[in-house]
């Protein structure tokens, strides 16, 4: 997996906050501080901005002048986007876009379903070998995806599901499980045991506790994980490349982009437009759900 989707919950509690009002903290209020913040923000945004500008410039200019010359001599063209969206010899990126959604949505939902169950068992049911098993699951985060490619593909061949979406869904679900279980477990542990105890005294079984007590409290945590998983799956190339293996039938947009420039050299005009097309969805998803993401982090591991 990538760095973006490894553990994002603390395993240790931080000093307990006293609710929403706990917002006082020291602040560097000098103008220098503001300046520093602006400098960092500009440095972080500039590279992406450069790509955005480049994607709108004609091929020849991208190759001979820097994107900043655009401001002296602005020439805008949508040709790059047109070329990318209707790549010759194929039906364009449209069907790949659809594939990306079809791949991503189950790959987010399935591991969450399974991880919720497992995390509940680890967090609230006593059984022999619990901690050993939990540590083992956590430790599986270290297995590099690359080592699983051949063994998994071999199994898929035996199961005769190669070239369908199932291979990709299953693979992404498997790779997401260690982190999802670990994360959701930590969130669940943070729920005051008293709540569960009260429900149990009222005669609620595991099922009722799971649905009525835990799930509502877990929504932000699930959302936080879902965002990470969404970004990871959407941006993934390696898994799709290995398991999709069937042309445009099931391949996601990342695979299409990787082959976009064809054998025609560097084709930066296509790459910049293509890269921009591919990052729009994750960026929009992230910006829309950012609120839940931060709340999920606050609600879960980061308090004690």
């Amino acid at each position: 997996m990538t760095a973006t989707d490894t553990s994002l919950s603390t395993t240790t509690p931080v000093t307990k906050g006293s609710g929403i009002s706990a917002r006082a903290r020291k602040r560097l209020t000098s103008p220098w501080a503001s300046l520093a913040a602006v400098v960092i923000a500009v440095l972080w945004t500039l590279p992406t901005f450069g790509l955005a500008v480049s994607s709108l410039r004609p091929e020849r200019e991208i190759k001979t002048t820097g994107w900043w010359t655009f401001f002296r001599d602005p020439t805008i063209t949508l040709d790059n986007y047109r070329a990318v969206l209707s790549a010759e010899g194929s039906e364009g990126l449209g069907s790949f876009f659809v594939n990306s959604f079809v791949i991503t949505i189950p790959s987010v939902i399935i591991p969450i379903c399974l991880a919720l169950l497992a995390a509940y068992a680890f967090a609230w049911i006593r059984f022999p070998g619990r901690s050993v098993l939990f540590v083992a699951v956590f430790a599986l985060q270290i297995v590099p995806i690359q080592v699983t490619l051949i063994p998994l593909l071999t199994l898929y061949v035996k199961a005769d599901i190669v070239g369908s979406f199932w291979t990709i869904w299953l693979s992404h679900s498997i790779f997401a499980l260690p982190l999802a279980i670990f994360l959701l477990h930590n969130f669940m542990r943070d729920i005051p045991p008293g709540l569960l105890e009260a429900a149990r005294i009222d005669g609620a079984g595991h099922r009722q506790i799971f649905f009525r007590v835990l799930l509502p409290l877990l929504t932000p945590a699930v959302a936080a994980f879902a965002i990470f998983q969404f970004l990871w799956v959407w941006n993934d190339l390696l898994v799709a490349l290995t398991f999709a293996g069937g042309g445009s039938e099931v391949a996601p947009i990342t695979v299409a982009l990787a082959n976009l420039s064809g054998t025609r050299g560097t084709a930066w005009h296509l790459l910049s437009a293509g890269a921009f097309v591919s990052i729009i969805v994750p960026v929009v998803v992230f910006l829309l759900l950012q609120r839940y993401f931060v709340r999920g982090l606050l609600a879960g591991g980061l308090k004690g």
């Binding site: 997996m1 990538t2 760095a3 973006t4 553990s7 994002l8 603390t10 395993t11 240790t12 509690p13 931080v14 000093t15 307990k16 906050g17 006293s18 706990a22 903290r25 020291k26 503001s34 972080w44 590279p47 450069g50 790509l51 480049s54 001979t64 659809v98 079809v102 189950p106 939902i109 399974l114 169950l117 497992a118 068992a121 680890f122 049911i125 098993l133 699951v137 956590f138 430790a139 599986l140 270290i142 590099p144 690359q146 080592v147 063994p151 998994l152 498997i174 499980l177 260690p178 099922r207 799971f210 910049s272 990052i279 960026v283 998803v285 992230f286 950012q290 982090l297 606050l298 980061l302």
Partner: protein, 322 residues
């Protein structure tokens, strides 16, 4: 397959898995009593553990086994592959680079993320300011590589030739000569690391900002009444309070950095002495046809992550104990 067909299949898959969960919940719900708990746990864990065993444990075990075999995978050669890793110049460079990545990336990304989190905390437009820094996280590594090409690209210092890379243009503006950033070791590795820092700082910032906001008001107020300076406040109040969060961010980015492979592969292809373990593993296994050495590199990757995992587990235990 039509678009509708694809979505239909997707719906089926989701329903199927939801149904599995439903059946498990239903069956588990019929089990009662103290002994029933074990069965409930068993049922709840089965699907996840089954998938992990097939998808991760088995391949990992196979890799460890393979690492004791030669390139073709049929002669047992003991620890020779590991010896190669620790003796050949090329592999030592790979190890050195990996260490550099793992040491620099987490600390730099966390430091910048923390600084920024403090700077924009409760500032006007805080959400917007944070989104700017977080944005790179939503971008794929391949996309990031293209973005950074426009920063590092080199054009010769000649009349009529203009720079395309931003960094070289800045250098020219201030009177320097353009450099080939990605060619000379060890600096080229640092320039690659910069890309990773760029991606990860947003993650550090988000988590740490959340931690800072969780510091209780009374603690801050008390310190302020004592006349603690802003720097002192950071040193004695903020840092201790968010220390656990900092540790988590560091280890998280650390694990991610160990596995970094796309950035190196797309930007330099591991050339110019920039290769790292994860990339070397890929090229040995899938390009050079040296599966034994590739497997040994993967095992080394596990081993390198173990200290981080152990540390996390001890933190976990400590938290459980309280």
């Amino acid at each position: 397959m039509t678009t509708a067909g694809k979505f239909l299949e997707m719906g089926t898959a989701i329903l199927l898995f939801v149904a599995v969960v439903g059946v498990i919940l239903f069956v588990a719900g019929r089990l009662g009593g103290r002994r029933g708990d074990r069965w409930v746990a068993f049922l709840y864990l089965t699907p996840a553990v089954l998938m992990l065993a097939v998808g991760l444990i088995y391949p990992a075990a196979r890799t460890i086994y393979q690492s004791f075999f030669d390139a073709a995978g049929d002669t047992f050669i003991g620890l020779d592959n590991y010896q190669t890793i620790f003796t050949s110049d090329e592999q030592l460079t790979v190890l050195r680079n990996t260490v550099l990545w793992v040491v620099v990336t987490p600390f730099a990304a966390t430091g910048i993320g923390l600084l920024y989190a403090i700077l924009v905390d409760r500032a006007r437009l805080e959400a917007f300011a944070k989104a700017l820094i977080f944005l790179p996280m939503a971008i794929s590594f391949v996309g990031a590589s293209i973005i950074w090409k426009f920063v590092y690209e080199y054009r010769p210092d000649q009349v009529g030739v203009k720079q395309i890379g931003l960094l070289n243009q800045v250098l020219v503006w201030i009177g320097g000569t353009p450099q080939q950033w990605l060619v000379d070791p060890p600096w080229n590795t640092l320039f690659l690391i910069l890309v990773m820092i760029w991606i990860q700082a947003g993650f550090a910032m988000t988590v740490l900002s959340a931690a800072i906001k969780a510091i209780p008001d009374d603690v801050v107020e008390a310190a302020r009444l004592d006349g603690v300076t802003p720097v002192g406040m950071f040193r004695y109040v903020t840092l201790p309070s968010i220390r656990p969060a900092v540790v988590v961010v560091l280890t998280t980015i650390g694990i991610g950095t160990l596995k970094v492979f796309d950035i190196v592969r797309t930007m330099t292809g591991g050339q110019f002495d920039t290769s790292v373990v994860a990339n070397e593993f890929y090229s040995q296994s899938f390009r050079s046809g040296n599966e034994g050495l590739g497997a040994a590199l993967a095992v080394l990757l596990f081993v390198l992550v173990i200290p981080i995992v152990v540390y996390n587990i001890r933190q976990l235990r400590a938290a459980e104990a309280r």
